[in-house]
């Protein structure tokens, strides 16, 4: 069983892909600026409660009762199987202490709907200050990981390779962020972990191609740079496709079967796997070629 046999001229036919990438990244940027993100309570502070009630109640009615009973704007959603009577409540940091809020909610639910049992099965509360600190830490961690990876590439390869990997990374991250902005999916700590994994994956993929370029450059000294890179991409192509597909299967299964945090994680990874594969071929490699050809103009020397 073979997936690819033919030499595919990747490097020669890519101007329209560059435009596509530009549109996608710019679109993501615009979306991020104008549409913004749905930050989870991990980052903006707030309370998330999950209750099991002894009977089924329409979530609209619960919302009404809670808003009246607590004076806070609470988002109510039924989760899980309808027969389980599971409800999730979410609100931004309330005026009162976060420590006592759930007691109040339990009281209102009991009183308002005359329920036998009202069980609080999950509670997450993050103070606004703590949340924004975690958010800052998250941003810092993405940047630190990014810098470490770049330093690593700079030393393991050379500095003609680094910029391509940088841009490819940014490209992938922007598109994934755009995906979160447009779907309104929540960005929480787990999703942040996914972003870091995507960084790692995107670099993995780029490194495989770079590794082959470096090897071939020693073997075929006279080959024009475009052909050299193109050949390297073709040689690693089976691996790229097989790996991306297995990776894709894993995250797709996690996305379909998982729920909650796992689902968000898998969603980020699905976009990340696709763009990560794409960017090492169509972003990182052309930048390497460009620098090899024109780098001396910016003071680069081999």
């Amino acid at each position: 069983m073979k997936i690819v046999e033919k030499e595919i001229p990747f490097i020669q036919n890519q101007s329209f892909l560059l435009i596509l990438s530009l549109i996608l990244t710019m679109g993501s940027l615009l979306l991020m600026v104008y549409h913004g993100f749905n930050l989870g309570i991990d980052f903006k502070g707030g309370i998330k409660l999950q209750y099991k009630l002894s009977q089924s109640i329409e979530s609209g009615k619960i919302q009404e009762a809670l808003t009246k009973g607590t004076g806070e704007k609470i988002l109510v959603q039924q989760v899980g199987q309808p027969s389980e009577n599971l409800y999730a409540f979410e609100l931004q940091t309330p005026k009162e202490n976060i420590d006592t809020f759930s007691t109040k909610v339990t009281e209102v639910l009991k009183k308002e709907f005359q329920l036998e049992t009202v069980t609080l099965i999950k509670e997450e509360a993050v103070g606004a200050k703590a949340g924004s600190e975690i958010f800052k830490k998250g941003q810092v961690s993405v940047i630190v990981a990014w810098i470490l990876i770049l330093i690593y590439i700079g030393f393991r390869f050379d500095f003609y390779f680094s910029p391509g990997a940088i841009v490819a990374l940014l490209h992938d991250l922007l598109i994934v962020l755009g995906g979160f902005a447009i779907t309104g999916r929540e960005i929480n700590l787990t999703v942040l972990a996914a972003f870091l994994t995507i960084l790692g994956y995107s670099v993995n993929d780029t490194i495989i191609v770079y590794d082959r370029v470096r090897e071939n450059a020693k073997k075929f000294k006279s080959l024009p740079i475009e052909d050299l890179v193109n050949q390297s991409i073709n040689e690693t192509l089976s691996r790229t496709i097989v790996t991306s597909l297995t990776m894709f299967f894993v995250v797709l299964v996690l996305f379909i079967m998982g729920s909650g945090d796992i689902k968000d994680f898998a969603f980020a990874m699905i976009i990340g796997v696709v763009t990560g594969t794409y960017s090492s071929i169509f972003i990182a490699s052309p930048i390497y070629i460009f620098l090899k050809k024109h780098g001396h103009r910016f003071g680069m020397s081999a």
């Binding site: 690593y152 590439i153 787990t190 972990a193 495989i208 597909l245 945090d261």
Partner: protein, 660 residues
């Protein structure tokens, strides 16, 4: 077959066996079995005894998200700890100077600052004070001569108009900046604290024009001392450290298996309590600060006749303040603060309001609060406490307290000075527990806290809780919850089930794909992958690292990466075979050519793992841990063990073709 060959195989087998050994308790559920036996007093069966002796007892450490439990992040109000300590220093120095027979000394803390102010009658007093400070506090307290305040004396002498004066001074001077107007009870002297030196003249003029009967007073012996930065720093660190220790003690008493309590940043504490069935009780035990203080009741016409509670006039003022300033109902620390803020200038400046709370015994809710007017300064504090026990007397259970030598001395002096004269309020966590009349001096440092109304059993329970909190060490400062996560145990089981199912199906899809695509080699990769997962779990169990839900995702991801390593190698081998090399050479070339790419990809992943571990908390750390362990085991299995299998295969069969 060479001996180095055999050694390699033995090593791999040993690693697999070691992982299995570490995982056996989790597979058999040994720990829970033993715990259950102990709880029920059941005699262990022979095989259980044998296993418990052979195997490690620790099962896989499941994270909170998988087994349920509580995660709390608490903030220690270090500022509060510092001001408590400074109050204490102030009253100790005051006592020292009066024991040195120096009259007319007033030492008090400037509210809302780190400064302590001393008004001294003469140079001798100043000398004594600085001697005392350098002897007892070496260089931790810095004396300063300059002061940013003005002192005035009023011609008015009666209490009511003096109090009215504070109010109108506050009103007139407030627009000129953040000022404090202070007056000691019964005195006709006012202090005006300046917002900054630049405003001095402006404020002087304003007072001269608006308050004709106030005369500026020069106080030559006025000094201010404040803690040095280093001392402040130590106070901060100590209060957090002490809070961590106190919480740990309390939780140990409460009896949670494997709690984790650690310092987080400069003033935060993270508390993890896995598998707690009654979250509300656990949290209240952790948070109950148990701050004990003894304060004198201010008796300057503010209390009811024959009773320490605030008189009707002040009760009316409180009621009015609640309405006017829209202070919420209830008696939380915050609203009591607001009340005190609103009554500023209406009660004397060294006094404050505190409430004695009445709890409905059935609903367990606070239903009313009786106000008291207390001296702001605590005379004796909980850190001088030596012990607390529950005793039962004629009128029901009570908590008896005993103090350390310093506390006993202070307590004795305090009661001697006020015997037959006043009431002493016992304050726990800011609320008045009781305010008995001081009948006689209590020289031996024994005191009692009687409890509020309720039946005998509730009182006894309450007394036990109280003595536990007091005995385990009062917290130096109160704690504020900033993050809280509670996960019910059933939800944890669901999550583990769901995560495992997803991971299993993902694995099956991938395993099938590998066999389909790489045939026998794919099968080798799959077997090695199984070994990889076993090793990861084994390492997790051995080091008691925590497996979380994202951790399971991390394992799934590691599996994908391990396969990537094999795919890189297999593709290389295919290339070499295609270029016409014999099998043995092709395999070896494939492995060695792939090495750099495999190492580079894994090291970058390891780097992001490190960063995640550094910056992440809870579940994210779990993800980082499995990722990092996975990188190591993947290099070992996907590269090294696969290579070993190939070598064995070629050596044994010397095949013409390779199933790849």
């Amino acid at each position: 077959m060479t001996s180095s060959w055999r050694n390699k195989i033995y090593l791999v087998l040993a690693l697999i066996l070691l992982s299995l050994y570490a995982l056996m308790p989790s597979i058999l559920g040994l720990q829970s079995r033993l715990e259950e036996a102990e709880a029920k007093g059941r005699v262990l069966k022979t095989w259980e005894k044998t296993l418990a002796w052979i195997l490690p007892q620790k099962e896989l450490n499941l994270g909170l998200d998988l087994r349920g439990g509580i995660y709390l992040e608490l903030e220690v109000s270090v500022q509060e700890a510092v001001s408590n300590r400074l109050d204490l220093i102030a009253s100790q120095t005051q006592r020292y100077l009066s024991s040195e027979k120096i009259p007319n000394v007033i030492i008090e803390r400037v509210p809302k600052t780190d400064r302590i102010r001393a008004l001294l009658p003469n140079e001798v007093a100043l000398k004594k004070l600085s001697e005392y400070l350098s002897k007892n506090y070496s260089n931790s307290l810095v004396l300063q001569k300059e002061s940013n305040e003005l002192t005035y004396q009023s011609e008015q002498k009666d209490e009511a108009s003096l109090q009215a004066l504070v109010g109108s001074l506050n009103e007139k001077l407030a627009p000129l900046g953040a000022l404090e107007i202070e007056r000691s009870t019964g005195s006709d002297t006012f202090r005006v604290v300046l917002p900054n030196e630049a405003k001095r003249e402006e404020i002087k003029q304003k007072i001269a024009s608006d308050f004709k009967d106030l005369k500026e007073k020069n106080e030559p012996g006025k000094v201010v001392y404040k803690p040095s930065d280093a001392y402040l720093n130590t106070l901060h660190q100590d209060s957090v450290k002490q809070a961590v220790e106190t919480i740990r003690n309390r939780i140990d008493r409460y009896g949670v298996a494997e709690p984790s309590i650690r310092k987080l940043g400069t003033n935060r504490i993270a508390v993890e309590l896995p598998g707690v069935s009654d979250p509300a009780r656990a949290i209240s035990i952790v948070k109950q600060s148990g701050k004990l203080e003894f304060k004198l009741v201010d008796d300057s016409k503010m209390t009811s006749p024959q009773h320490p509670r605030a008189n009707n006039e002040i009760q009316d003022l409180i009621a009015k303040a609640r309405v006017e300033k829209k202070i919420p109902e209830g008696f939380s620390a915050e609203s009591v603060n607001q009340i005190n803020e609103a009554l500023k200038g209406k009660i004397s400046s060294d006094s404050e309001i505190a409430f004695e709370l009445q709890t409905d015994p059935i609903k367990k809710k606070v239903v009313a609060g009786t106000p008291y007017v207390l001296k702001r300064k605590a005379e004796v504090t909980g850190d001088m406490l030596r012990g607390a026990q529950v005793s039962v007397g004629n009128e029901g259970p009570y908590v008896s307290l005993s103090f350390n030598p310093i506390g006993a001395k202070l307590f004795g002096e305090l009661t001697a000075a006020n015997a037959q004269k006043g009431f002493l309020a016992i304050i726990l966590d800011g609320n008045v527990m009781s305010a008995p009349f001081i009948k006689v001096a209590i020289p031996n440092g024994e005191a009692q806290i009687t409890l509020g109304a309720g039946d005998y059993n509730t009182q006894l329970q309450e007394a036990e809780n109280l003595s536990l909190v007091l005995r385990e060490g009062a917290l130096p400062a109160s704690l504020k919850e900033i993050t809280k996560t509670i996960i019910g145990p059933s939800l944890g089981k669901n999550a583990i089930h769901e995560g495992l199912r997803a991971a299993l199906i993902a694995a099956l899809v991938v395993v099938a794909f590998m066999i389909l695509y790489y045939k026998a080699s794919g099968l080798i990769a799959d077997v090695v992958l199984g070994v990889n997962v076993l090793l990861i779990m084994g390492v997790l169990a051995m080091f008691q690292a925590t497996l979380t839900l994202p951790g399971i995702a991390g394992i799934a991801l590691t599996m994908a990466m391990a396969l990537d390593a094999n795919i890189i190698i297999f593709e290389r081998i295919r290339e070499e075979i295609k270029s016409g090399k014999p099998i043995k050479i092709a395999v070896n070339a494939g492995f060695s050519n792939a090495l750099t790419a495999v190492i580079d990809t894994h090291l970058t992943t390891f780097l992001s793992g490190i960063v995640l571990y550094q910056f992440g908390t809870g579940p994210i750390r779990g993800f980082a841990v499995t990722l990092m362990i996975g990188v190591v085991t993947t290099l070992l299995t996907a590269y090294w063990v696969t290579h070993l299998i190939y070598e064995y295969w070629i050596q044994k069969k010397n095949p013409e073709t390779l199933s790849i």
